[in-house]
């Protein structure tokens, strides 16, 4: 029922959106990689950015964090325009970022990695709760961060942004290169986080995984969002989606 209500509102831009991206252009040095990205995310939603390699999904997340060399347009978070802000100020508004390469620090042990991002707001998960979500991390908390398996590193990269009080999580391909059983575990975690009230933007190439966690899918191609498909209408649009993704 709740999902149906969410869907009927999808068309209204801005307004009650937690994150509102419009006309977002971005550059890596000289190369123009984003050409007017538009999408909204409402509180409590899980939205994916789907698309082929090089479509601009990761660049979109980086641009939202202010990590691209140059960006123009508008990225509003809780109504605050962030386009001119530094990454650290954007983070402090309440956005947690989990990069594609996971960004685990090799000179820090697991616990230090977990405790690294500072608290930016009330209401983050407790360390106990994070260890409960990812028991492997508790067992290995004295190990060097990069000695963990790929799956454990991914859990650590997600876990450490849950502590901070950030309510919007940007997850860049959390399932990339992981075994199916780990992918399932991460899927379960994302559904759990949604229940806890987190809002999530997820970059994915794995359509089946995306379908198992998301409310809506934004299709990214050549640096813009070219289509938006609610998860409930996925079956009707599956051929179109396969076309977009080149499967």
């Amino acid at each position: 029922m709740r999902e149906a209500a969410t869907l009927s509102e999808t068309a209204t831009p801005g307004g009650d959106a937690l994150l509102s991206v419009s006309g977002l252009n971005g550059w890596y040095g000289e190369s123009h990689v984003l050409h007017g990205v538009e999408f909204d995310v409402r509180p409590g939603e899980v939205v994916t950015l789907l698309g082929r390699n090089g479509a601009g999904k990761t660049s979109t997340l980086c641009a939202i964090m202010g990590l691209l060399g140059k960006r123009t347009g508008s990225v509003k978070f809780r109504g605050t325009e962030t386009i001119t802000l530094q990454p650290r100020h954007i983070a402090r508004l309440g956005i947690g970022f989990c990069p594609e390469e996971r960004g685990i620090f090799s000179s820090l042990n697991v616990e230090e990695n977990l405790m690294l991002p500072p608290r930016i707001a009330e209401g983050g998960l407790t360390v106990e709760r994070i260890y409960q979500l990812f028991p492997n991390l508790l067992e290995r908390r004295r190990s060097q961060g990069t000695k963990l398996s790929g799956g454990e590193q991914q859990m650590l990269a997600i876990g450490r942004i849950l502590r901070t009080g950030a309510k919007l999580l940007l997850l860049d391909e959390p399932t990339e290169g992981l075994a199916p059983v780990i992918v399932q575990q991460i899927g379960a975690t994302i559904r759990e986080l949604k229940k806890e009230g987190f809002t999530i933007v997820l970059v994915e190439q794995n359509l089946r995984f995306a379908a198992s966690v998301a409310d809506r899918h934004c299709v990214v191609e050549q640096g813009r969002v070219i289509d938006m498909i609610p998860n409930t209408e996925l079956d009707n649009n599956i051929d179109k989606l396969h076309g977009y993704l080149g499967v």
Binding site: L67, P87, A91, F105, S106, L116, I120, I161
Partner: protein, 283 residues
């Protein structure tokens, strides 16, 4: 034994100075060629505090590093911070130029003959250990440098602040994306590294004459120590600092003619066999 002690004292200075260089290089990626001049400034500031303001050794041991560290912070803010996106070479050239300017300024006003600085009364005299006479002040240098080195190592490797520092050394962009003010951390780190140099300068003031070239003479050896230990390695800088001081002292006993070059010979060998340094991370 006397030569060994002398080696250990030299090693104390090598360790504190190369530690400061390692801390700065780790986070800023800048080879701080003005380190020797900042060491010299530490000694001069201690001398000035005493002669102009009547402030003695113990307060100077805290004040001089703070004052010189503050000049480092200004230097980082005004000049160094503009160079991070460029090649290492620019930082090297800038800090080298600043070292020359500082040495020239002090030479202009204070000459090169060296100014006397008394050992504080509480540390004059010495202990007769039976096999040798140990001046109290020299023992103090070793103790103070060990404490400072260990405290710095502990802060960087074992505390939360140190975790920020290590993380920012690896991936400053991501640390910034977690909401941490990396530019401010870089500024403070440079100030801290410079303060370490000044601290060594104050320690040195009573036993070496306070003169504008005191840093220039020492820093060449310290760079060799850093190369041997491995650029950016904290523990490497400390261990090689003391170790090479001792080796230098031993050489003075067994082959005095070689004592001036032994560190550079070791540097050449290490560069041939393990170019990243004994404790360095492979590039």
């Amino acid at each position: 034994m006397g030569q060994l002690l002398l080696g250990l004292i030299n090693g104390s200075f090598y360790a504190v100075l190369s530690l400061g260089l390692a801390v700065i290089f780790g986070l800023l990626n800048i080879i701080n060629f003005s380190h020797g001049a900042q060491y010299m400034m530490g000694a001069f500031v201690a001398w000035m505090l005493l002669n102009y303001l009547g402030i003695g050794y113990w307060p100077a041991l805290v004040l001089a590093p703070l004052i010189v560290g503050a000049t480092g912070i200004v230097l980082e803010k005004v000049a160094l911070s503009r160079l991070y996106k460029l090649d290492h070479l620019y930082g090297l050239l800038l800090t080298f130029g600043i070292a020359l300017i500082l040495q020239g300024l002090f030479r202009n006003y204070y000459g090169i003959s060296g100014l006397p600085y008394q050992i504080p009364a509480s540390l004059s005299g010495g202990q007769n250990l039976g096999f040798m006479f140990l001046p109290n002040y020299r023992a103090w240098i070793v103790v103070a440098s060990v404490v400072v080195c260990f405290a710095t190592w502990f802060m960087i490797e074992k505390t939360r602040l140190g975790a920020y520092l290590r993380a920012a050394t690896e991936n400053p962009a991501l640390v910034g994306a977690f909401g941490i003010n990396v530019p401010r951390m870089i500024t403070l780190t440079y100030g801290f590294g410079v303060a370490l140099a000044a601290f060594a300068g104050v320690l040195a003031a009573p036993i070496y004459a306070v003169n504008p070239n005191m840093g220039a003479d020492l820093i060449i050896v310290v760079f060799a120590v850093v190369v041997i230990g491995g650029m950016g390695s904290i523990m490497g800088a400390i261990v090689t600092g003391y170790g090479l001081g001792l080796i230098e002292g031993l050489t003075r006993v067994f082959y005095p003619e070689g004592s001036a070059v032994v560190i550079f010979v070791i540097m050449a060998i290490v560069l041939l066999i393990k170019p990243e340094g004994l404790f360095g991370r492979a590039a």
